[in-house]
Amino acid sequence: DQQVKQNSPSLSVQEGRISILNCDYTNSMFDYFLWYKKYPAEGPTFLISISSIKDKNEDGRFTVFLNKSAKHLSLHIVPSQPGDSAVYFCAAGSGSSNTGKLIFGQGTTLQVKP
């Protein structure tokens, strides 16, 4: 049972344009969500997070939107830069679990073309 899904394996955008990465979840107990970025041969690095009490969180060029009714979140990168080319994972957790356990999606490979 895939509780967190990233249905687009890959995405290609032109430098300077917007990148939109999507993530869907099925478990209504999830109340916080994180995005991680992963370069080849490196571990995932934290990018941005959002709590379920908010519907938007912004950090520089990165904005995450949360639609709880649709159980959907998206990561917007504006403007996209070639250095943003990486695999992006969304992850979800539940505060009620008291463990900090995260469930990860399959990842979306973003390619930003110069």
Binding site: G43, P44, T45, K101, G105, G107
Partner: protein
């Protein structure tokens, strides 16, 4: 601040052999996680420690995988005997709260 350290970075073994991975978390992080990431998939939690106690090992194949975190700091993950399907990247992460910090991972190839 030093990040999460893992060794070795790469390991190639034959099936039925054993292998061990080492992780040193960020200083002061009480929670330590081991993940398995198979190519094309997201990280999957194998085991979670809080200090030196196991919080969640529901996804750990206990017939062949074992892990320990002596003294609540460093941790080792062992596979014995390895199978072809164990080929993956093994990631260690540590945290104080929600945000987890990952090491570079160990890429295991079982032939």
């Amino acid at each position: 601040e030093a990040g999460v350290a893992q060794s070795p970075r790469y390991k190639i073994i034959e099936k039925r052999q054993s292998v061990a991975f080492w992780c040193n978390p960020i200083s002061g992080h009480a929670t330590l996680y081991w993940y398995q990431q198979i190519l094309g998939q997201g990280p999957k939690l194998l085991i979670q420690f809080q200090n030196n106690g196991v919080v969640d090992d529901s996804q750990l194949p206990k017939d062949r995988f074992s892990a320990e975190r002596l003294k609540g700091v460093d941790s080792t993950l062992k596979i014995q005997p390895a199978k072809l399907e164990d080929s993956a990247v093994y990631l260690c992460a540590s945290s104080l709260a929600v945000k987890q910090y990952f090491g570079p991972g160990t890429r295991l190839t079982v032939t």
